[in-house]
């Protein structure tokens, strides 16, 4: 006889829901309120960008097109964004294809996952120090291997083609895409599909490509678009690694926003709209390519090529890629930490002549205060995001609301619309209200970027929660409120803490929203580190970057350790069967 749990009819229970007429009217407001909080700032900011761009008979647009650097800046934006996204996605899929379900994969995952919490600015600073001609790699190899007594005159950082910027983007986006893919794999029944393909004689690569990739990519599409939009418009990474003659369009917009004359602000607004158009074009190009590739795949699948010979080189390439990414980020960050305690450290010494805590001691008051501000903003934004997310999910679970794809896309809106396109407008709008330049305003704008990530990381575990627990509790007479606080919330303590850590990491890493909405008056570790990066004091940069790194790492550490401690006497809660 069939397993009774696989038929629809024997599962007539509503998703853990218990009918409670008249209740939950407040809860019902949570999803529309949350969506409004996500969308209104974006729309208001866009409006605030459109108006200055076209006032005074389009003076801003005119001066934008008169800027000689425009073609190259726009090309750089498109080029670095598309190239970094393409390579990061390709490497992600390569790693998945080569290793999904193997012990190697678990190792790669363990080494890449922590890198997700590294703020973009810290990653860029670490990488900059690693690959600069006077950087750690050159120091390690000199003078023995290279013969260099002084750093070679090589254009590596800030190269005019944006190669180091592209590399920096890849190292940060690959872990993100890989973890998004990991979240999708179990729903796709990946292991059985791959086994089926293997039993039909397909190599790993071909089997993955034909049986899993189309469905997997459907789940990766929105994250990929977010990565593309981010890569095209990043400012903090571009300031550190990107070209300067001219800079990328997004960087130039930020520079214009900071200039004295108001006409440059109009120029910045016009450029922000152009940047938005570029991002939309890039996503359109990407979408068309998707369709083409899909057709090619379908056609290729009909020929059923097994391609077993691809597996070995693909595995080698995937291993090398993950090693390079993990290695460069880890080494770069270690280098930064070392600089923060370095005494005199001249080229080509591989390590400093002496170690000293002088940088930390002299910067301690400033570091302490900045850390406190950073934490306060991150905690506020994260807490608000958690509350809204929980309210939405609880409304969904108890009021029988089903999330539509459209609502999910809207949730992604702040990640898909480039920050540089709407934040300048938003800043100009907040100025007359007098709310800019306060930590509260910064926390509020952080919420817009923190909430999507918190929602994405919490919704899975929340929806996967065994609804029979709620039914069992309800038949014992427990109210919906009691079920939520006594059962659902404590049982989801692990995922909750993880989401909180994700939220903290996202907030700590925010550069442009902090800079623009904070009006320069709200200093976080990230804005400080980026401001210092132009000054070149590696010791202080190292100290700020180390803290920037440490806070999210602590948050994630806590998210892992706390449940272990909390559930030390509860085997099931620790994931042990």
């Amino acid at each position: 006889m069939d397993d009774p749990h696989r038929t629809g009819l024997d599962r007539p229970l509503r998703g853990g829901a218990v009918r409670q007429a008249g209740r939950g009217s407040l809860l019902r407001l949570a999803p529309p309120l949350t969506l409004a909080l996500m969308i209104l700032p974006v729309l208001a900011g866009l409006a605030g960008t459109v108006i200055p761009a076209f006032r005074n008979a389009g003076a801003g647009v005119a001066s934008l097109f008169a800027w000689p650097g425009l073609p190259r800046a726009a090309a750089l934006s498109l080029g670095t964004g598309l190239a970094s996204t393409l390579i990061a996605l390709a490497l992600t899929l390569l790693i998945l294809a080569a290793f999904a379900g193997t012990p190697t994969f678990a190792r790669i995952r363990r080494s890449l996952a922590p890198l997700l919490s590294v703020p973009h600015a810290a990653a860029a600073l670490g990488l900059a120090f690693l690959i600069a001609p006077s950087g750690w790699i050159a120091r390690l190899l000199s003078p023995e291997v290279t013969g260099w007594q002084s750093p070679p005159d090589l254009l590596i950082l800030n190269d005019p083609w944006g190669l180091s910027l592209t590399l920096g983007l890849i190292t940060k986006e690959l872990p993100f895409l890989l973890l998004m893919a990991l979240a999708a794999l179990p729903q796709l029944d990946a292991d059985r599909r791959l086994t089926t393909a293997a039993s039909l004689g397909y190599g790993r690569i071909a089997g993955f490509t034909f049986t899993l990739l189309p469905d997997l990519y459907r789940q990766l599409r929105l994250p990929t678009y977010a990565v593309l939009a981010y890569g095209m418009t990043t400012v903090d990474m571009a300031l550190i690694l990107g070209p300067t003659l001219p800079p990328t369009l997004a960087t130039q917009i930020t520079l214009w926003m900071g200039e004295a004359s108001l006409t440059m602000r109009d120029t910045a607004a016009a450029a922000a709209l152009l940047q938005l158009a570029l991002a939309i074009s890039a996503i359109t190009i990407w979408r068309i390519t998707e369709i083409l590739v899909q057709n090619l795949l379908v056609r290729a699948a009909f020929q059923a090529p097994r391609l077993p010979n691809l597996d070995r080189p693909a595995a080698a390439a995937a291993r090398a890629a993950s090693l390079v990414i993990t290695g460069s980020l880890t080494l770069g960050l270690a280098g930064l930490a070392l600089w923060s305690v370095a005494g005199l450290w001249q080229f080509p010494d591989a390590v400093p002549q002496s170690l000293t805590l002088r940088t930390w001691v002299s910067a301690a008051p400033a570091l302490g205060q900045t850390t406190a501000t950073t934490l306060a903003i991150a905690a506020t934004a994260t807490l608000a995001a958690l509350i809204l997310t929980l309210a939405c999910l609880q409304a969904e679970a108890t009021l029988n609301l089903t999330p539509t794809t459209r609502a999910l896309t809207l949730l992604y809106l702040p990640l898909l619309i480039p920050q540089i396109a709407f934040l300048p407008g938003l800043q100009m709008l907040t100025l007359p209200l007098g709310i800019d330049g306060t930590p509260a305003a910064v926390a509020a704008i952080h919420l817009v970027f923190v909430l999507p990530y918190v929602f994405l990381s919490l919704s899975g575990p929340f929806r996967a929660w065994d609804s029979r627990i709620a039914t069992a509790a309800a038949t014992l007479g427990a109210s919906e409120t009691r079920i939520f606080w006594r059962l659902r919330l404590p049982m989801l303590a692990g995922p909750l803490l993880t989401s909180a850590a994700v939220g903290m990491a996202v907030s700590i890493g925010q550069y442009l929203p902090t800079l623009l909405i904070g009006g320069g008056r709200v200093e976080t570790l990230t804005t400080e580190a980026v401001a210092l990066s132009s000054g070149g004091n590696r010791r202080l940069i190292g100290a700020y970057a180390a803290l920037q790194l440490l806070l999210p790492a602590l948050a994630f550490g806590l998210a892992i350790a706390a449940p272990l401690l909390l559930w030390r006497n509860r085997r099931l809660m620790r994931g042990l069967a």
């Binding site: 254009l155 005199l344 007359p432 000054g535």
Partner: protein, 403 residues
């Protein structure tokens, strides 16, 4: 004192020019009591940790002496703060502005003053103002040929000096031409910060002094009709120099600390700074080897003063005045001149100081790499601000958007 009366008093400040010293002292007491408990937002470039530390120290002094809390708003560029005040003016915000005090000079000062964004005149009412060496250091009241008219108060003097590591380059070139020849003979060992960075543009102006037929024209605003011909030698000089620069001029350091870091990393052999004491201070801090020395070019180098100004709508004007005055305090000035701290040149007339204050300066060790005032040579006055704006723009069009 009630807030309203203090504000009225402050608003009337320029009007009490005729008051006696005694009356001025009384008014200053009013400002001091109004300032107590205020938090002053000083918008100042935040790219140099030593300056940041100094500002932190000023904050401690201000708290200790006057009960004024000082917040250093670290800017990537001074224009950020200017833009902010401008935006506030556009938005009709005539009081309670976010910026209380700005570290400023040159074009930013000219822009703010001409657009009515500054409060003043105020400097003559600062109790420490009589100590300033207005006669001996005309740059304290003339900012890029523009008379300050009391709308900004000087707090440090600076002069362009070049730095070299004697371990790698024992005999540095001593003139502009020699510098160019040396750079061309040693490709990749020299560069300058990317204009419109302040130090980078200063380098361009220094070149203008060396290559223009009549450098005295720099003291007048740019004459559009003659401009192209006047600056042609500058572009010719750069066109010759650029292929031999660090990274073949395909990338430039972004500012003074970045340039200094290149020297520290051994990527270049000659750097320069707008601060004669920087090299000694960096040696003391362990960031440069103790073989680094400074030198100036024959014929002199450009020098100027750093100022603080108060926006017209500053929320904490009394506190800002107190900070501006504190910056002229002999103890503060002596600390700024200490190479172990900043190594900035003082704006004060040492002869005008009380003996115990003069002793503070006499006690300073100039530092291993710092030239004595005599060796610093003549100070070239800053050109009119229009030159800086114009050559920075043209530089960007010529070299800033590599095709």
């Amino acid at each position: 004192m009630h807030r309203r009366t203090a504000l009225q008093l402050l608003a009337s400040l320029p009007a009490f020019a005729g008051l006696s010293t005694k009356a001025l002292a009384a008014e200053w007491d009013g400002i001091l009591s109004e300032a107590r408990g205020q938090t002053v937002y000083w918008h100042a470039w935040g790219g140099d940790p030593k300056i940041n530390d100094f500002i932190t120290w000023i904050g401690e002094k201000a708290q200790e002496r006057y009960g004024v809390t000082l917040e250093h708003v670290k800017l990537a560029a001074t224009s950020d703060a200017v833009a902010r005040v401008l935006a506030e003016q556009q938005a009709g915000q005539t009081e309670g502005g976010a910026v209380d005090l700005i570290w400023i000079n040159g074009e930013n000062f000219a822009a703010m003053k001409s657009q009515g964004l500054l409060y003043g005149s105020f400097t003559e009412y600062l109790p420490n103002w009589p100590l300033v060496d207005v006669a001996g250091k005309p740059a304290t009241v003339t900012d890029f040929t523009l008379p300050t008219e009391g709308f900004e108060s000087p707090w440090a003097m600076a002069q362009l000096v070049f730095e070299h590591d004697t371990a790698r380059l024992p005999q540095p070139p001593q003139s502009l031409d020699a510098l160019a020849e040396w750079a061309i003979a040693n490709p990749g060992r020299f560069t300058y910060p990317q204009p419109p960075d302040y130090l980078g543009t200063t380098f361009l102006k220094q070149v203008l002094y060396g290559v223009m037929e009549d450098p005295s024209l720099l003291q007048s605003p740019v004459d559009e009709a003659a401009y192209d011909a006047q600056v042609a030698p500058l572009w010719a000089f750069l066109d010759r120099l650029h292929p031999a620069l660090w990274r073949q001029a395909k990338a430039f350091p972004q500012n003074e600390p970045a340039l200094g870091q290149l020297l520290a990393d051994g990527e270049i052999d000659i750097s320069f700074a707008f601060n004669p004491g920087r090299a000694s201070a960096e040696i003391a801090a362990g960031n440069l080897p103790d073989t680094v020395r400074t030198f100036v070019l024959q014929g002199g180098t450009i020098g100027n003063a750093s100022f603080v100004a108060i926006p017209f709508n500053a929320a904490h004007r009394a506190g800002a005045l107190v900070i501006a005055n504190l910056l002229l305090d002999p103890e503060v000035q002596a600390r700024a001149q200490d190479p172990a701290v900043l190594g900035f040149q003082t704006v004060l007339d040492l002869q005008a100081l009380a003996p115990e204050d003069r002793a503070r300066f006499d006690a300073l060790e100039l530092g291993i790499a710092t030239l004595s005032p005599a060796d610093l040579g003549p100070v070239l006055l800053e050109p009119h601000a229009s030159w800086m704006t114009r050559i920075a723009q043209d530089w960007t069009a010529r070299y800033g958007v590599a095709q």
